[in-house]
């Protein structure tokens, strides 16, 4: 395959900066947030829980918006192969 003429056109303001994924503690009340996440799944079947997680990922993905942050987060989350 020949190379395409050019790669994706990143907006200029992205070109030289590092992705800004926050991996330092950022939750004001981690216990509370975690308990909320677990409680949100209460009384859901496994299938419903998976569907809810998927919706949650999409909602947070949209909230973050920044393509580089999402790519960095997916790289951190994915198990090493």
């Amino acid at each position: 395959m020949t190379k395409p003429l050019s790669g994706p056109r990143w907006p200029a303001r992205w070109r030289w900066s590092e992705p800004m994924l926050t991996l330092t503690p950022n939750l004001s009340n981690p216990d509370e947030s975690y308990a909320r996440l677990i409680a949100a799944h209460e009384e859901l079947s496994e299938a419903e829980s998976h569907a809810m997680n998927a919706r949650l990922v999409l909602i947070l993905m949209n909230h973050i918006g920044d393509e580089r942050v999402l790519a960095a987060a997916m790289a951190v989350a994915r198990p090493e192969r």
Binding site: M1, T2, P4, L5, S6, R9, H50, A51, A54, R55, V57, L58, I59, N62
Partner: protein, 545 residues
């Protein structure tokens, strides 16, 4: 490569033609020693016809060979994009297409029995052509052929030979030799340049032993074209996992003549013959439309699809265009539309090379630019296909999560992908591109197709026509520039009082000068006219550098 088939089958008229247009007539070539033609086009489908029309209108003699005598049955491609119509307009064929075609703007997306949302293509104001028309492919081809007949009468050197099937192709250093079979037996013909428009199964590609790599999607789609006078609106309706269970997805779309395209996704392990039984097809259609709706089955077909392309579209003096060069899934209307753009890109280059005005390497830019276009189309169409037919459980989980959210959350609607509809690609990074000018709008940067706009006497693209043009906006320049054997005509425009021109070509800038290629793509642009710079950009656009 030249080995002819041992027992050649005599080409005969097929039973199922929508229009018989070029019945077999014996040519004097058949009695002659291989006659040389500047350009031979193989295949008289939409791409071959458009190529013949484009070259013939420019005075380049072109011979079209087709193994049939007219246009095959079946609606096939039905969705023609604005850019394809603009190109056909340059070729003089768009009027009847627009008149016959169905214009649509509204789409509805359903999941199960729920209407998730509606979208409006909301075409930008200030364009001669709508975003899309729906038109059965036989009409599209017929209108191209009608235009060929009209320009032939005016002296355009186009010849179409029906029932002429290419049996062998032999590339030579300075030409290509073809063995052609006819009802009167075989003959030989030679071409300085051969354009292969012989479709996705391209026999020429096979004869030359060239690869066609890509992805096969393990799914079958059933097309049922039905004629009915039912009162459905002129909208594109798409169902994911429809409640009527006629397929894993379904599409309803209007065509001319009260015909509706219905598409059902059937899955991989099916009995194709059984699924095409009229009773079986009708059961699916009945479930979708409701038992009370009366209709007639016009055409049915089952198709699978691939997303793939040739590694290179130029192979010496053989140039591949349309489905012969690249194939995409139908989602997004990127098949025939991109083939028409291949023709648009190729024909001016081929003419200049034939006339000795540009080196052969200008044709390598056809390869680079249209491979870029094909990759963009394959990427878009692959993504749509992966959304419509998720390949893994987790992919389906996320797909359905998107659909769930789309009913209430606008952000999720932007992720729903039932086909990102075809838009022309920008040749970013092309070797033909000249300098860009800061502060002018990104959408008209070098490599971009010129967006249409209203101008004093009609439309910008009609005023541009098909040669090299220096488009000036509130800037001085000579009326005619002659350089490198090419004539560049000026099109003087003012953005004063024309918001579309201002937004599309100037932005905040007070003036600009654009060099436009014959295919109406931007070659270079400046804030003012500079003769040396224009000559240099023209040399670049001709691959003289």
């Amino acid at each position: 490569m030249t080995a002819p088939i041992a027992t050649p089958e005599i080409p005969a008229q097929r039973q199922n033609l929508a229009f018989t247009l070029y019945p077999y007539v014996k040519s004097p070539d058949q009695e002659a020693v291989a006659r040389r033609h500047p350009v031979v086009v193989v295949g008289a489908g939409p791409i071959g016809l458009a190529a013949a029309l484009d070259l013939g209108r420019q005075g380049v003699p072109v011979l079209v060979l087709d193994d049939n005598e007219g246009i095959g049955e079946g609606s096939r491609a039905i969705c023609f994009s604005k850019r394809a119509l603009e190109i056909c307009d340059r070729l003089g064929a768009a009027g009847p297409m627009l008149e016959k075609g169905v214009v649509w703007n509204l789409g509805k997306v359903f999941h199960d029995d729920r209407l998730l949302y509606e979208f409006n293509l909301l075409p930008e104001a200030g364009h001669a052509f709508p975003a899309f028309i729906n038109l059965q492919q036989p009409y599209f081809e017929k209108f191209l052929h009608d235009t060929i007949v009209a320009v032939q009468a005016a002296g355009a050197p186009i010849e179409i030979r029906g029932c002429n099937r290419v049996e062998a192709v032999t590339p030579r250093t300075d030409h290509v030799a073809l063995d052609v079979m006819t009802p009167d037996g075989p003959y030989r013909v030679e071409a300085d340049w051969l354009i292969a428009c012989d479709g996705a199964r391209s026999p020429l590609r096979g004869m030359l032993g060239l690869g066609f790599e890509g992805r096969v999607f393990e799914d079958n789609f059933l097309i049922a074209d039905v004629r009915m006078t039912a009162d459905f609106p002129t909208e594109r309706w798409f169902w994911f996992e429809p409640h009527f269970k006629s397929g894993a997805s379904a599409l309803l779309h209007k065509q001319p003549d009260d015909v509706w395209r219905i598409d059902f996704q059937l899955g991989w392990d099916i009995d194709r013959k059984a699924e095409l039984e009229p009773a079986r097809v009708r059961a699916r259609v009945d479930a979708m439309l409701g038992p009370e709706v009366e209709y007639e089955l016009v055409w049915t077909s089952i198709y699978t699809f691939q997303c793939r392309r040739m590694e290179r579209f130029r192979q010496g003096r053989v140039i591949f265009a349309g489905d012969a060069a690249h194939q995409v899934s139908p989602f997004g209307a990127r098949g025939a539309n991109s083939g028409i753009q291949d023709v648009d890109n190729l024909c001016w280059k081929l003419k200049l090379v034939l006339e000795g005005m540009a080196p052969e390497r200008l044709l390598d830019s056809y390869d680079a630019e249209r491979v870029h276009g094909a990759d963009e189309n394959i990427l878009n169409s692959t993504r749509a296909t992966d959304f419509i037919t998720p390949k893994t459980p987790v992919s389906k989980l996320f797909r359905n999560a998107v659909l769930d959210l789309a009913a209430t959350q606008p952000f999720a609607r932007s992720i729903v992908n039932s086909g990102r509809l075809s838009v022309p690609c920008t040749y970013d990074g092309s070797s033909l591109n000249g300098p860009d000018c800061e502060n002018l709008p990104a959408r008209t940067r070098p490599g971009s197709p010129v967006p249409d706009a209203p101008v004093a006497d009609g439309w910008l693209l009609q005023a541009l026509g098909g040669g090299f043009t220096l488009m000036t906006f509130d800037a001085e320049a000579p009326e005619v520039i002659k350089a490198h054997g090419v004539i560049v005509r000026r099109l003087a425009l003012t953005a004063t009082g024309n918001a579309a021109l201002q937004a599309r070509f100037l932005g905040e800038a007070p003036a600009a000068v654009y060099l436009i290629r014959p295919d109406q793509h931007v070659a270079a642009r400046w804030s003012r006219y500079d003769e040396t710079a224009v000559r240099a950009a023209l040399a670049r656009a001709l691959a003289l550098e």
